[in-house]
Symmetry: C2
Subunit: 345 residues, 2 copies
DNA sequence: CTGAAAGCGCTTACAG
DNA sequence: CTGAAAGCGCTTACAG
């Protein structure tokens, strides 16, 4: 097989030393214009592309950020991954994805260990919180002292540069339903109560009801699993155990779509008989039947803050300075009101 | 900063040579049980994780597959990326993603060149076809002789191990509409006719109409851009320029959702006044109002064939054998018939 | 079954 | 502004 062209080949051809070629490649200022031109000409002519592997090994820097994230074929994680990639790229980093396709069974410890063998300059922990993760990180990451930030789970000692508000936004969505005159408001949650995100959305719902002096009972709460299918099923359960229901907060848009489907199949008119709000503002949410009221999360900003902070931590680490950002910047979703929650008067 | 533990540290601590440690790490058979046990004990005790960068450099093998793909926050590319990741992981490879977030403006040449600097063992080209890509590949990839496969675009000299049928499936969807008694069938395409995929879906629609002896006119065809928004707008255009329309083939489910939204807003009953079929079978398609008839693409199989073939090409390349798979395995989407295209009798 | 030497392709001080 | 030497942390023949 044809051997790749090396830096040394360029040096020989251009009649200079390897370091000079290295300087040209890395755009160092201390090269004579004439020398630079000659070296560049040889590089272009031979189509030389430097070997990042060798560069990483000798400079002890990979310009890689590892990302541990759950299935990115869901809307939220997918958007987050894409925005992380954009931001990382803008700062000169590449992403090395570790996607836990099957969160229940994946051995996160093996994943993390394999990721560390690639010596990323930093790690973004975007996985959902799970029992045991803290221990996995303590045992495998801490000894390496690789800078890390978390986006989702709260992990002791690990900075969380940005926090996407869940509770206030949920409260605002439910308060909107109350203002529209809905009386009996149920909730379809996305998952077990064990995750932070799940808990906060429920808390928001509770707070809105409490503020309005409405009773809160267990039968108003049904757990789904983020999909349209579970949304539809959850709505069936709600109607059965809480028949007076006239509005529902589905904790994401896909589940809201399941609710709308249930309503359509059972001739329940939305928004007249049933008010519906979701969470996410999928690109399609505006085209649900009827158009869905929901909350749009600023993923780009969320990712940008996270990546920039990690980049700063990496810089500080390389300078052997201690730098551990304490603040968490809160970003707020935007409420988008559409037909599904506005009664025609 | 704390220096990482190296293979040599393990060797010294265990009282053996570096190569012996290397053998243990790589599970080579030729190590005495006792030696292996001792070395493993030291590895575990010190929490040693080998450095993949160094390994890649010396072995001239990265176990990385580069993936050039368009925005993965859309359903199709997202699913493909996830399935590629699963399959690659199963064969011991990692994915190095190069996502062209903004297909129009991204400089694919710079992307590819940067990817090559990472010396992936192989490259998966999952980007849509665009004018100029062929030239970019010829200039940058061919000299490196890195094995590559394509999933989407047809590129001369580059194997395409799997092909996802578009034409026959589209024809079957439209024939189904004809069988249901729909007379005037429009189409909303996903993009310009310049891509293979776009063309094939339109061809399928045409063939079905031709087989049924129906006329085909330009006014039956409107171009969208894969989103619900463009689907809704395209439907408005269709109704205006082709008022007798009683069924529509939307080239993906998101656009079909836009169509359903348009119908809902204008009191057009689906499926009675308008039959609708989509393409993709989003998890939500079953919960559209009404439930959507569509085609489910076997992405897992598509990705599996592609990755396995690339892995074989890499093996052959390393053995200095010439191996260039000529066959393309065709995989077929499954038609899923639901309410949106079945008239109640 | 085990080890000493060379090399993968770069960058990093250091010297001039 | 330019270069000779050493080193990054592994693996690969090769020798015994």
């Amino acid at each position: 097989m044809a051997r790749n062209i090396r830096l040394e080949d360029i040096a020989r051809e251009a009649g200079v030393s390897a370091q000079t070629v290295s300087r040209v490649i890395n755009n160092r200022p201390d090269v004579a214009r004439k020398t630079r031109r000659k070296v560049q000409e040889v590089i272009d002519r031979l189509g030389y592309l430097p070997n990042t592997i060798a560069r990483s090994l000798s400079s002890q820097r990979t310009w890689m950020m590892g990302v541990v994230i759950s299935s990115i074929d869901r809307y939220g994680p997918g958007r987050i991954f894409v925005e992380l990639d954009k931001q990382a790229h803008a700062l000169g980093y590449r992403l090395l994805p570790y996607i836990s396709h099957d969160e229940e069974t994946v051995d996160i410890s093996r994943y993390l260990r394999e990721l560390i063998t690639h010596r990323p300059d930093g790690i973004i922990w975007a996985a959902m919180e799970r029992a045991g993760h803290e221990e996995v990180l303590r045992r495998n990451l801490v000894p390496t002292s690789i800078p890390m930030v978390t986006m989702e789970a709260l992990l002791p000692g690990i900075p969380k540069p940005a926090f996407m508000d869940q509770e206030e936004t949920s409260e605002a969505l439910v308060s909107h339903l109350i203002e529209q005159g809905y009386q009996h408001i149920g909730i379809i949650t996305g998952e077990l109560l064990s995750t932070q995100r799940g808990k906060l959305r429920i808390n928001g719902w509770k707070k809105a009801l409490e503020a309005a002096g409405r009773p809160i009972t267990e039968k108003q709460i049904v757990h789904g699993a983020w999909t349209a299918e579970t949304g539809e099923r959850a709505m069936a359960t709600l109607v059965e155990q809480f028949p007076e229901i006239d509005a529902v907060f589905a904790c994401n848009d896909q589940m809201a779509q399941g609710v709308l489907s249930f309503a359509y199949q059972h001739n329940i008119r939305v928004p007249d008989d049933l008010g519906v709000v979701g969470f996410d503002d999928l690109p399609e949410a505006k085209y649900f039947t009827p158009r869905l009221t929901t909350a749009k999360q600023p993923f780009a900003e969320f990712a940008a803050i996270t990546v920039r902070t990690l980049a700063e931590m990496i810089d500080a680490y390389l300078e052997e300075e201690s730098y551990s950002p304490q603040e968490t910047k809160v970003v707020y979703p935007e409420i988008v009101i559409r037909e599904s929650s506005v009664r025609k008067t």
